[in-house]
Symmetry: C2
Subunit: 631 residues, 2 copies
């Protein structure tokens, strides 16, 4: 029997000093529990999402030094951990020093594994270089090493030979993506098993949480363990890491699969823990299978939002938060979330009415603040907006060379944006600084998709916690927060029921049932197809599905909604073109300057959806389909 400790630690990205401290403490605990092996996550020492910090030689040397401290601490226990490995004599493809995303196995202060591999560690074979991942930018893969050495990958994927509690053990060390090889020509687990046979697989990971990912991982890894007939220990970190535009939570959820592919143990998500498990000898009775919680629910979304926002605030040192509270649903959900994170005593809600804001929503903002027990203030913007407009239209615009002058005109559209900027850049930014904190961006994914927001206005803020959730998910979240988080009506039901509106003009008067131009029950799903579909949908695809009568089914929205929403095919097409132009036009410019977004979905804006500010494009086939439809 083997005792294995799962070191589900919080990793602080870019802090090898703090991470090493955590590891040393967990190693001590594991030794006291008489564990034979302790397994830490991938890149446990440096962290994973560090941008181009990998180009700082001093940082690399520092990580090596902390790695040595961990190796020194391996007396009487085998320590498996992820770190950057540097070969100072070789270079990466970009000419910089050779860096490997590596898995180290240390025992009694010695590194193991050099008997059947060029280095005393193992390196990652498959480098994810899609979505938010940039592995190929920084690290040299086993695939490249094989080419360089003129060896077969098959010859390089060797288990590590251990000698533990008096018996020899072949340990299959793989790193994260190496276990997700379905789309690759190379299957590291299968190859290593052939080179073994392996007694135990460990997959050390640094795998961000997104909705539904754990379900998929359990399917894949269970199959893997069953196919090889070898138990598999998956260790993932917790914490929050970001790559600038996008913030990722890491849920840990470290899991043990037995030789039949059943789950026999797991660590609670988002909680630092050291779990010691017993593994039977090969051929012994496989451990009892247990069931794991589903990660698809709104509860999981709330958990990730809460955890990610809290950790990110800690990381950037924000303790107090200002939320612009309109009385609408987005800001209400945002406020209710932050109240739980920083506490109502560190939360300030500011309502900033202009003449276009209804008494209804003004009252709702106040009720919300009262329900939360937080600070509340009303700072009207009408006077400032009026003065801005007066200044803009009355100040002469001179042409000194021609000795002529003119003035500017302000359209109602410009006036809407002036209001939005007055709220955020004038009031909220100043008030947040004076309050000693930051102000939030309450944007959702629907408006982020089409840029239905004002730059330096409601798109401003230190972070956009809700911007990876569609409007219908915001509603679900509001209900969940009332029912399960607070277990009382904190978000006023009227804020949930009212027509969603920016209240920036008479055309958006909520008391007359007027509001946003977005038909959320349809557009949420149309927009989702643009960004989240595996093969991103374009207007050509949409018209194709429309002609085939399968559009609603393909989008996943309510049947009959398209005909109900549009009077004619021409209307339908005009609507499609309007939003596609915004999505690929002005909205891109806005997203470039948007705050960091917390990722929840399998495709968040920012680093996970790279985009260029290019002109809107319709394919030639789109025009053909359009002509057919309109004929």
């Amino acid at each position: 029997m083997l005792k294995v400790a799962l070191g589900q630690m919080e990793i602080i990205p870019g802090r090898p000093d703090l991470n090493t401290r955590t590891m040393l403490s967990m190693i001590n605990q594991a030794r006291q529990s008489q564990a034979n092996i302790i397994v830490f996550p991938e890149m446990a020492i440096p962290g994973y999402l560090l941008g181009d910090t990998w180009e700082q030689s001093a940082f690399l040397r520092d990580c090596e030094e902390y790695g040595r401290q961990v190796i020194e601490a391996s007396q009487d226990i085998c320590v498996i951990f992820g770190n950057i490995a540097i070969d100072w004599n070789k270079s990466n493809d970009d000419g910089r020093v050779r860096k490997y995303n590596a898995c180290f196995a240390a025992c009694n202060k010695e590194l193991l594994g050099s008997d059947n591999f060029p280095y005393p560690y193992r390196i990652k074979t498959l480098h994810p270089n899609y979505r938010e991942f940039d592995d190929s930018r920084h690290f040299y893969s086993l695939r490249k090493l094989a080419i360089e050495r003129e060896q077969k990958i098959e010859d390089l994927l060797q288990p590590i030979n251990l000698f533990l509690s008096g018996r020899a053990l072949q340990l299959g060390c793989i790193l994260c993506e190496d276990g997700w090889s379905d789309d690759y020509a190379t299957k590291p687990v299968t190859i290593m098993q052939k080179n073994g046979p392996v007694d135990l697989f460990v997959n050390i990971s640094s795998s961000p949480f997104t909705i539904g990912k754990n379900n998929k991982r359990n399917r894949i890894f269970s199959k893997q363990a069953a196919a090889t007939g070898v138990p598999l220990v998956y260790v993932n970190n917790i914490g929050v890491q970001n790559n600038g535009k996008t913030i990722y939570t890491f849920d840990g959820f470290s899991t043990v699969y037995n030789a039949c592919g059943q789950i026999t143990a797991y660590c609670e998500p988002f909680i630092e823990s050291l779990k010691v498990i017993h593994l039977e000898k090969k051929g012994g009775n496989p451990e009892q299978s247990i069931s794991v919680p589903d990660d698809h629910s709104i509860a999981s979304i709330y958990q990730a939002l809460h955890y990610g926002t809290k950790k990110f605030l800690n990381a950037i040192g924000i303790k107090k938060v200002v939320v612009g509270a309109s009385g609408g649903i987005d800001s209400a959900v945002s406020a209710a979330l932050y109240a739980k994170i920083v506490g109502p005593e560190n939360l300030l809600l500011i309502n900033m009415p202009s003449v276009y804001n209804s008494q209804t929503t003004k009252d709702l903002a106040q009720i919300l603040a009262h329900n939360l027990g937080c600070h509340y203030s009303v700072m009207p913007i009408q006077q400032s907006v009026d003065q801005t407009i007066t200044q803009l239209v009355n100040t002469p615009i001179m042409n000194l060379a021609a000795n002529s002058q003119s003035t500017l005109n302000i359209s109602s559209y410009i006036m809407e944006n002036i209001q939005a900027r007055d709220r955020s850049a004038r009031i909220l930014a100043g008030a947040a600084a004076a309050f000693g904190g930051g102000f939030t961006c309450n944007a959702n994914k629907s408006e982020t998709t089409v840029g239905y927001s004002t730059l330096y206005g409601d798109l401003a803020g230190f972070m956009a916690a809700l911007a990876d959730l569609w409007k219908h998910q915001i509603y679900d979240l509001a209900n969940y927060i009332n029912e399960h988080v607070y277990q009382r009506e904190v978000i006023p039901q009227a804020s949930i029921d009212i027509v969603p509106s920016a209240e920036l003009s008479p055309d958006q008067a909520v008391d007359h049932g007027k509001g946003d131009p977005i038909i959320y029950p349809y557009h949420d799903f149309l927009f989702r197809a643009f960004i989240e579909n595996w093969n991103k949908a374009t207007p050509e695809d949409i018209l194709q599905w429309y002609m085939q009568g399968i559009l609603e089914n393909k989008l996943g929205c309510q049947e009959g909604l398209v005909n109900k929403s549009f009077n004619s095919p021409a209307d339908f097409i005009a609507d499609l073109e309007r939003w596609w132009k915004l999505f690929t036009g002005m909205a891109v410019a806005k997203r470039i300057q948007a705050p960091p977004i917390l990722a929840i979905s399998r495709r968040a804006y920012g680093f996970d959806h790279r985009e260029s500010q290019n002109s809107t494009y319709f394919t030639s086939n789109y025009y053909k389909l359009k002509e057919q439809i309109l004929k």
Copy 2:
């Protein structure tokens, strides 16, 4: 003798329709000039920097269709061009459809090259995945294909067999990075020559301009041609492409190297042109060598700035521009640049004084506008700033639950930021919309490095044209613009001579010689080491160099400056820590929300310098060195 046409075209990213039109027209011209071959750049049809547009299947099919149109146009001429190639039956590592960055050779409506390769086209072997490049994210390389097919790379790198004007010809088609193989284990040109011998190499590229890159390219490619003894035709596109945060110019500068490695022809940079050149038979007299202009000078910087800004404005549809003119040098250079691009009739300068702005700078802003002959307006901000402060400090902050209330305090630091935001988010954004255009961000690279700017204030704008230039380069540019672009003193000499200052408080009073806390002659070079050094410098490196007495030499700044600038080692270290904390702290948060930056240097902020918003870090060795110095 062979007649080769260099199709140095402008590529519009994401517009296969427009790019194909350009190509068809150039093919016709080349045919009329009786060229045997016409060579177009890499990714001539789709463009290169497209973000995740590559995940739209409809777009891929569209590019294939336009590719067929080009193939159809190859009657009596061999057309070499770059396009995306799709193998719909295979998948990339991410599971999406297989995409190759490919070079096609078509003659008489037929694709060539399938006699010695699995596809009737050639694919890129070396994928740049550093700096601004993301090739591995989207495309499948020859290296991966070799592994998948269990073949050697050497067997796959085959020339294309042509039959032109009655003789057989082996054409070595390589794509961009394949010619820059110094840092790679695989050398495509050498291998292909071995598999040939090759009669002519063509390198189709989509290679962004950065200062000094052409000089390097000429060194490498000359050596390559001489080493193989085979002439080399390099064709690059012009235009501007971006990846959201960073905008790249493409200068073309297509070049012909003869079999001795001498340059015999080139296309003028940044100009669309079809150049037909004569290549002697192998063994014939090599063509006359010519010299190429150096690209290191301030003239090259101005050319790239002018071209890139102009093209980007076209691309995003901005015809009119508003510049906030402070009387200082950055906004003056910005205004002088934009006046040349949009014309003074489409340029509006707005001076926005508070009580802290001197008469000196107010006058300088007006003189600048007069010199440029553009529109000019003075819109003071003091009244609005005062009212904002009054509103913030007087409005009660209530705690409805506790039935208590308080007020906010505004520090002088907060007041500075209120002024900056009042200028940009209140005046400039509104005025630009009313003027019918956009407003500029005039930030330079020095302040961008340490976040010496206000978010939603002077960091706002549709584009930051100067943000890849250090302050000393801004001075050089000001002089160049006066002397060479306008050939008169457009930028007032006093704006060049005055102490640089934000004029946001009495501590920054220019008339008393007070200004920015940045000592540009030193910090420009310190900051450059943080970001532009090949191995990024950190405080540890700086202290090391300081102790060794080689700091100024390593940074490239003036000798003796460090001792002159700091009273003691402790002062020096405090300064270093102050800026490092800003660079890796608040400045990162600001850059995440900064406008797109036009790239000039070999390392621009944005997509070329990926960064995570993590906490500031000092290595353990830094602390040791610091202790030694302070002892």
